[in-house]
Symmetry: C2
Subunit: 492 residues, 2 copies
């Protein structure tokens, strides 16, 4: 492996931008992968079946279980060497039937009466909706995943915090006591990758409830994790610190957060919240796995996949039906082209990435126990948009070696080869307690990120938000990388 | 200019991937451009005003004229050094009130009765719509721009041609006589750039009517120029050969083309067409222009823009409201950052690109007469999607020089610097009859192309199909390139 990579590095440098003989042959095969994906791709159609036939797939829900069995049957219908459902226990949080957030604010009433569209660049979608309504407004909001219920109606004044510093300042001054705290730090729009902006804000959603409970807050509202200014609340996982009171947590749409922040100094503003979400006992679920056996190293695995569960808003189309269909389609493409892999290729639909990653843990545990030696794993969990490249969890020399493949993928618009994490579902394989897969290569597919957080964990993440060609290009890109890894790994 | 470019080329090669001192300074300014665009961008809001306030802008229509005056006022409101409306005469084709295409086919009836969703990968959207309807079906279709009316109802059998060869074979055998000919060559889905696929098919739309009239056809239907399989007809310009009979031409949705082709051997199939479109006398319209005067070379221009007219389907959001807003926003960004340009920067909204390019001709003529020396021109007419790079109409050495700027733009996902045409609106400046601008540099902004032909010239090309961040990234990319050109050109 290292020898070939080094020789590519050297010859690549000498004859760039041309291709050497091996690369010329690889280039032809990669062209066939893309042709098959773009002309006969199955991923889009299967994503439609999944999204429209089963909808969202919250871990532990009946819908998720029905969908897992669809996945097993779907994979079996393609005649892969092995298809199996790998059991794992998953948590079972339920939203419940009552989910209400209301506001009463004289200042908001006044503002809505004065509303006009010339105000400038702020997004006033919410105000437009409500300008002629009565004085109690029901706000677009939804419980965060894992929240406790409100145990009746919670009512109180609102405190807005725009940063962690502000939270601490207000909290230490006792000003958050008895409040419903609105976490309102927006995405940093200057980040070119929207995932960087998400990374900078998501503490509010994950840890906000306990951070505010420490200072005596009654409940928290969290500005939706989105670049878009609209009326869709975006849910997502949250965690409690066991030593602190567990208070309920809701996501509010970004437009709601803007509007509430604009009337934050209304002393007469009252919020009321009513939630009856709850956590039931764990339930058995499954990872779905399909394999094509390796001809030379059948006991060495290249795994690739996405997560099959989703939040209960929308249909989990981009997050992460797309990643699962990328993986399934990559395996199908290589099979359809008559490719005999050197290593065993394994497509995995991991269960429960969103609120527990129990499927990933079960997969890694099983690999450790069964001695399944993984040479590489690739995760796709950033949506079904035009693919741009890969993040690579490996030492620099290996990344440099992979970069020598850039000319092979450039014709397809692939240009990013970045050092970085691969994903939540493959990480336990390499970074978990077992040592068998410590040295493995891990990668994540990077699609264009601009639209991702318009849909992420919201009712807008539906099949219609996925473009056929973008999805199929992603699957072909994944298949091409699997092919290159399969051909180059274990060459020494 | 050449000296600096060469020095960049050399030092760039020596210290790559670092930046030299000039590039480090450029890098900081480009970061400011992107920050301003992403945080305070005006393009998206102004595109909304244009699309929702005025809608489509077919050349010569009242809507287009009202929108041009909006554009002038909008540009004036920003306090640019000069804002002007440059007159040009434009053609005035009108769709008319009657636009009908119907089919009667016993085979289609049978097929619809048998329709079920398990048929596989073909797109059956049309069949799903009609399966329970009566035997005469009204098909989603619209006149091509420039088509004559049908002068009453045209009725006849259908002939399907899937290639130019097939057209000639059938035509020479006399089999197209008295037919309504369906041109049904689909996009080549294996092309990664959808514009390549478009280029391979668009002859059907532009020349199909005369190609079929040569063989005695009564009318033509043209498969929509789209990657998407759906029910939206895509219009677009068509031309007649004067020496041949002028027969009417309609676009049919891709799903319609698939369905009609599937029942092509039904001897009892009858199509009827009724169109009353017409061409009225030319009308005066305008290009809208805004300038920031150059401090060092006020008589040398860097022009950039998109076309302001659109087809009468949808709202001309991606085609080409987005390109106009890219250009306006680029000028605004540089002004907002307090940048003093060396050359005069000119934002142009060209009129009538779609069916005549009269605005471009008027602009080039005026430049020739007035001695407006252009050092560069950049066109944006490929939609408001995530920007990927530039096509460059220049000699190879100059393209290589521009490529040395790649490290400056890579952080923003810009990676394509390709030799290629710039666009219909800037071409007459360089390639037209006047020689004053023969040596100029021309470029075209290249956004991601995967979704473009889902919207192009169809009712789906509305404001909602544009993503705010994608649009603003495009504007910032254009502004960054204008800045780099302004700084580097005329250095010798």
């Amino acid at each position: 492996m290292k020898i070939q990579w080094f020789s590519w590095l050297i010859t690549g440098a000498l004859i760039f931008p041309g291709l050497n003989a091996q690369q010329a042959s690889d280039s032809l095969f990669i062209r066939r992968i893309f042709d098959e994906a773009l002309v006969n791709g199955h991923a889009y159609k299967k994503l439609e079946e999944l999204c429209k036939g089963y909808g969202s797939r919250l871990s532990g829900s009946d819908q998720a279980e029905r969908a897992v069995f669809w996945a097993g049957n779907m994979l079996r219908s393609y005649g892969f060497d092995t298809v199996m459902l790998q059991p794992c226990m998953v948590p079972r949080w339920q939203r419940g039937g009552t989910e209400l957030l209301k506001v009463s604010s004289p200042l908001l009433n006044k503002r809505l009466r004065q509303f006009n569209d010339t105000a400038g660049w702020a997004c006033e979608a919410l105000e437009e909706r409500y300008r002629k309504q009565a004085s109690w407004y029901t706000l677009p909001a939804c419980a965060l995943g894992g929240s406790v219920g409100s145990n009746g109606i919670i009512s109180g004044r609102m405190c807005v915090v725009n940063s962690q510093t502000e939270l601490q300042t207000l909290g230490k001054a006792g000003k958050l006591k008895g409040c419903l705290v609105l976490f309102n730090e927006p995405f940093d729009e200057t980040k070119i990758s929207t995932f960087s902006a998400y990374g900078g804000c998501v503490y509010q959603r994950v840890n906000g409830a306990s951070m505010a409970a420490r200072y005596g807050a009654l409940a928290v509202l969290v500005r939706s994790m989105s670049n878009s200014c609209d009326l869709h609340p975006h849910t997502g996982v949250m965690h409690y610190v066991d030593s602190l009171p567990k208070i309920p947590a809701m996501a509010v749409a970004t437009s709601v957060a803007n509007t509430l922040a604009a009337v934050a100094n209304d002393r007469d503003l009252v919020l009321t919240m009513h939630l009856d979400c709850q956590t039931l006992p764990d339930r058995q679920s499954h990872n779905a796995i399909a394999e094509q056996r390796g001809a030379i190293f059948p006991q060495r695995y290249i795994a690739f996949g996405g997560h099959f569960d989703s939040w209960d808003q929308g249909e989990g189309a981009h997050d992460d039906g797309a990643g699962c269909m990328h993986a399934f389609e990559a395996l199908r493409l290589l099979k359809a082209l008559g490719y005999t892999p050197r290593h065993t290729l394994r497509c995995v639909f991991w269960m429960n990435e969103e609120n527990g990653a129990r499927g990933a843990a079960a997969y890694a545990d099983h690999a450790a126990v069964a001695g399944e030696f993984h040479v590489a794993a690739i995760e796709s969990d950033r949506g079904g948009f035009t693919p741009r490249g890969f993040s690579i969890d490996a030492e620099d020399a290996r990344i440099d070696s992979i970069k020598t493949w850039a000319p092979l993928l450039a014709p397809y618009g692939i240009h990013l080869f970045e050092k970085g994490g691969a994903g939540v579902d493959v990480a336990p394989l390499k970074h978990g307690p077992s040592s068998i897969n410590r040295g493995m290569l891990q990668m994540g597919l990077i699609p264009d990120s601009q639209r991702y957080f318009d849909y992420h964990h919201a009712e807008t993440d539906v099949f219609e938000s996925v473009n056929r060609r973008e999805l199929h290009l992603g699957a072909a890109t994944l298949a091409a990388m699997i092919y290159l890894l399969d051909q180059s790994l274990d060459r020494d």
